[in-house]
């Protein structure tokens, strides 16, 4: 077992392993070896950017280069290692305050003597001011500090930061690798694993959800009925409304209990429920927290709609493949008969226009459009083709 086992289908692993050896040589200080101080892991969503970063961090901290079983490896995996800091956000953006808190930490010497590592997941969510706050530290880090940023593409990072980083490009893991990984780690049937790998189009996290969670499978099946029920205006509007409702339900499932507990914890921390005067700033602190929670809820909702749209897009891609007579495995192989019907009822041009509509809706949502309106507009375009 090794820390790299968690990484699925990536060809960059051997290179990173060599880097780890180099790094420990550099640390020994006998003149050989070298270490890059800022890394940028890029790759499509679900390719495992943060998994790779985490494995790399563990390998750097581990005396055996990532054995996966020593205390260093275990702590990095659990996120409790004192020399590995994580910057993650559940909101729409990483706030400048979060970055400013982190920068002094990056200046410390590693407490266990190996490396001081800072992992910034979702570095594409760094706002311009937050990125500026990060710049100086990324540019000239102390000797033993390593920055690891993760983002979908290098272009998502401001050029000033990007140019200081060594870019590691990940690929979409092949279906077979994902299926094998699921079968090995999740105790699911081989057929389910294969279906999940295909349906998720190489998104490992999504594949895991589809393989293990029946609700997620049902939800997806429901979403994929959408293109078949768009004959009159009413159905289009209902389809859009259903997508938004489902996303809201998703957000409620994900956020409600969490929100409540966080508010409760904050109140307790500020001394609510005890005797004596109530602290003056408690209500405003709670308000602040609730604002954060609202942002998180918006993001969860938006992500959920986006997932659904990716599934719809894949379905039209399958239809296009059939229409163009490409002999290839479909993402939705199990739906082939109904896809054949859909393909027969239109032409490739209109399928392409429909795919454009889905892409346009995804972009609109990214640009903060009103979700219901954007999806209605999309559904109406899908109807016309």
């Amino acid at each position: 077992m090794s820390v790299w086992d968690a990484v699925v289908g990536q060809t960059v692993v051997p290179g990173l392993q060599r880097t780890v050896e180099d790094a420990s040589a550099a640390r020994a200080g006998d003149g050989r070896g070298d270490m890059t101080h800022a890394w940028l892991f890029t790759g499509p969503p679900g390719s495992g950017r943060s998994v790779v970063a985490r494995a790399f961090a563990a390998a750097l901290q581990c005396p055996d280069g990532g054995c996966g079983s020593c205390s260093e490896c275990t702590e990095v995996r659990a996120g409790t290692h004192p020399d590995v800091a994580h910057l993650v956000t559940e909101g729409l953006n990483i706030r400048i305050g979060q970055v400013r808190d982190l920068v002094p930490r990056a200046a410390l010497r590693p407490s266990r003597g190996r490396w001081q590592i800072v992992v910034v997941e979702d570095a594409d969510r760094l706002g311009e001011d937050a990125a500026d706050a990060l710049l100086l530290s990324v540019e000239e880090p102390p000797e033993r500090t390593v920055w690891m940023l993760c983002a979908p593409t290098a272009e998502d990072i401001v050029p000033t930061i990007r140019s200081r980083c060594r870019v590691v490009q990940l690929r979409t893991p092949p279906y077979t690798d994902v299926a094998r990984h699921l079968a090995a780690t999740e105790n699911v049937e081989e057929r389910t694993a294969e279906f999940a790998a295909r349906a998720s189009q190489g998104h490992v996290g999504r594949a895991r959800a589809l393989a293990t969670d029946e609700d997620a499978r049902n939800r997806r099946a429901e979403v994929l009925r959408l293109p078949f029920d768009l004959t009159d205006l009413r159905q289009c509007l209902d389809a859009a409304a259903n997508l938004v409702e489902a996303a809201k339900a998703d957000a409620e499932r994900h956020c409600d209990a969490l929100d409540e507990r966080e508010v409760e914890d904050l109140r307790t921390a500020l001394g609510a429920g005890t005797t004596g005067r109530r602290p003056r700033n408690m209500e405003s602190a709670v308000k602040e927290l609730e604002k954060e929670q609202k942002l998180r809820r918006t993001r969860v909702q938006r992500d959920s709609i986006d997932r659904a749209l990716v599934d719809v897009l894949a379905l039209y891609r399958d239809v296009l493949m059939i229409q163009l007579g490409v002999r290839t495995e479909l993402v939705n192989e199990e739906m082939r008969p109904s896809l054949d019907r859909l393909a027969g009822s239109g032409r490739a041009e209109s399928t392409l226009r429909r795919m454009e509509a889905v892409v346009a809706a995804r972009e609109a949502l990214q640009a903060n459009a009103a979700p219901l309106l954007a999806l209605e507009s999309m559904a109406l375009t899908l109807r016309e083709g």
Binding site: C236, A367, A369, L372, E376
Partner: protein
């Protein structure tokens, strides 16, 4: 009963409602009547939170000088239960020559006391907000009459459009116009001299004009709305809602009852008739185009474009075109 409601000098008056202008007037009417009946009348003001049981007793017990007394209790929702009971007692068995005015600003707080007072048969004056445009016009006409002038309905409507729904502003505008006009007749030209433009245009007004095919009027209303500070996002929201209702209605089978349609669409029943009228002249494809135009405007307003006014105007023009579009033959 009618004699009672016109004579403000009753033992206990309850003024309930959020419209402070009307509440103040009701209080002033009681005070004026008391002073008219007895120039030495003693008027005192207090709030519900400050009024104690002892205070009530002090005010209602016979006075040494035997003057008429008026006690105005503002924020009556704050009174304690004990005081509340004493007040109800005053309705049942009023003390002579004492007039109590209880002012309640609306809302649910203190509802228990309100119910008890009403049950005891308190004389009540309403001070509800006037929100319907027709009622506001009626209010303006009454105000002008009160100030000794005359106004016809179109002129009153013009004044409401220009000043907005704020009663205080309407009342003072009405009084001002009466004193400014030579013969007390407030005509449309007098109003146009002093008031120009529109105070507030709501998003749904723009949306209604747009889906009715009155593109020119819609654009005019849009400019007023933006000029008076309406958020562009609210206007795209109103347009989307209007088109959504129409699109849903277009798929409802003919001959369904209005009430069923209303619950189906999630709109009040009276709206269905209006919607049916608006739907005339629309084809499905036209509606689809219109929704897309609004979605484009929404994106532009949210930062995709740099001129919200242009984006919204374009959307209105597209909606007009989409409505004019011949129904597709398919």
């Amino acid at each position: 009963m009618s004699a009672l409601s016109t004579d403000p000098l009753v033992p206990v008056t309850l003024v309930a409602g959020p419209e402070s202008l009307l509440a103040e007037r009701a209080v002033a009417a009681v005070v004026r009547a008391a002073r008219a009946a007895d120039p030495d009348a003693d008027v005192s003001h207090t709030t519900g939170g400050e009024l104690t049981a002892g205070g009530v007793a002090e005010h209602v017990s016979p006075s040494l000088f035997a003057t008429r007394r008026v006690l105005v209790v503002n924020d009556v929702q704050d009174v304690s239960d004990a005081v509340g009971e004493l007040l109800v007692e005053q309705v049942r068995a009023p003390a002579p020559d004492v007039h109590i005015v209880l002012v309640h600003p609306g809302g649910v707080k203190g509802k228990k006391h309100l119910t008890a007072l009403r049950k005891a048969g308190v004389h009540e004056v309403g001070a509800e907000r006037i929100t319907r445009p027709d009622d506001q016009v009626g209010f303006v006409r009454a105000e002008v009459r009160r100030a000794g002038g005359r106004i016809d309905e179109p002129a009153a409507r013009q004044l409401v459009d220009a000043v907005g729904g704020e009663l205080r502003a309407l009342a003072s505008a009405a009084a001002q116009l009466v004193s400014d006009s030579a013969d007390g007749v407030v005509s449309e030209s007098v109003i146009a001299t002093y008031f120009e433009g529109r105070a507030e245009v709501k998003g749904w007004v723009v949306a209604d004009r747009a889906v009715e095919g009155k593109t020119g009027e819609a654009v005019e209303q849009l400019r007023w709305a933006l000029e008076t500070g309406t958020d562009p996002v609210l206007i795209t929201g109103a347009l989307a809602t209007a088109l959504r209702s129409l699109a849903r209605l277009s798929s409802v089978p003919r001959g369904q009852r209005d009430a069923d349609v209303a619950s189906d669409l999630g709109v009040p029943p009276w709206k269905v008739r209006i919607l049916r009228g608006q739907l005339r002249g629309w084809s499905s494809d036209g509606l689809a185009r219109a929704v897309r135009a609004v979605a484009d405007a929404d994106l532009a307003v949210k930062g995709g474009g740099n001129d919200p006014t242009l984006a919204l105007t374009t959307a209105l023009v597209h909606i007009g075109d989409a409505r004019a579009q011949q129904p597709a033959t398919t």
